[in-house]
Symmetry: C2
Subunit: 152 residues, 2 copies
DNA sequence: CAGTATCCCAAGCGATACTG
DNA sequence: CAGTATCGCTTGGGATACTG
């Protein structure tokens, strides 16, 4: 997870990825819609391309100059659950006027949520989780996860 | 989502929250296990408490001085899906030796994953999502989500 | 153990100006 | 339109030293 954060820790990186999910592909649009300056957009896009989350693709419309499009790669696209989970949390705890946008399942029309679920299909809350150790970390197995009961 | 990032954008903040989920409560442990210096730990913990993700709780063991414990609040605990999604992505794309730790469902024992699912219960991929607008943002509804296929 | 006080460095970011 | 070049501010973060 630490390494994931290394790649994606900065605010502008996540916002650029969000825009990419929204369908933005052009340099100027990224800068404008994310609300960052062009130098920052350039640096961030270069990093994201370097990390393999986006790819540059030259294309040209007839009669136009060649342009560069930035597209999500598979690696980048699989960050969607992270973004959705983050958005959901923000909607729940930080949005005074309700969610600004919601995701719908195409066709079925129901709202899409990020949730925790175990491989047996049970929806899972934080309190129902425990840690198991893979190779590389020394820590007690069966460690309880999650907080104390809600306050306020 | 932008506001969520405002709260949680920094690398050390997320790592501290991860430690909190692992069960860490003491100042020194946060600093040491996250691998940050004490001043940084102090600053980050203060911010997280200020944002209502953690709460300080004085406690004393018999015969000891009063100590401060940092615990997740409900607001903080609900970030778990974000962390899990991030961890999963890191395991998938950045971990050379497989996942360092995995979450198990307490009792059932199966691995816990973060996933996208619509309210009708369908598992949902990025390509199956579309945007709908809530109050506050004016944008086209039905916006496609996910990587745009290369146009020829 | 649980911090605070200082100092310093590097990275994120914005503003402005310039280029193909 | 799609960037690069420079400058300078602000914040994250490490090191070291000090306090209750």
């Amino acid at each position: 997870m630490a390494s994931a954060l290394q790649v994606v820790s900065s605010r502008s990186a996540l916002l650029i990825l969000r825009e990419a999910f929204y369908g933005t592909t052009r340099f100027d649009d990224f800068a404008e819609r994310v609300g960052i300056s062009q130098p920052v957009a350039a640096a961030r896009l270069r990093e994201l391309v370097g990390d393999g989350l986006l790819e540059r693709e030259p294309y040209r419309e007839p009669g136009q100059r060649t342009r560069m499009a930035y597209r999500l790669t598979a690696k980048g696209a699989e960050l969607l659950p992270v973004l959705v989970a983050l958005m959901q949390w923000g909607d729940r705890w930080l949005a005074p006027d309700g969610p600004p946008v919601v995701l719908k399942h195409r066709g079925c029309g129901e709202t899409v949520r990020a949730e925790l679920r175990c491989d047996a299909g049970h929806a899972t809350a934080a309190a129902d989780c425990e840690l198991a150790v893979g190779p590389g970390r020394r820590q007690a197995t069966g460690q309880r996860i999650g907080p104390v009961p809600p306050e306020e």
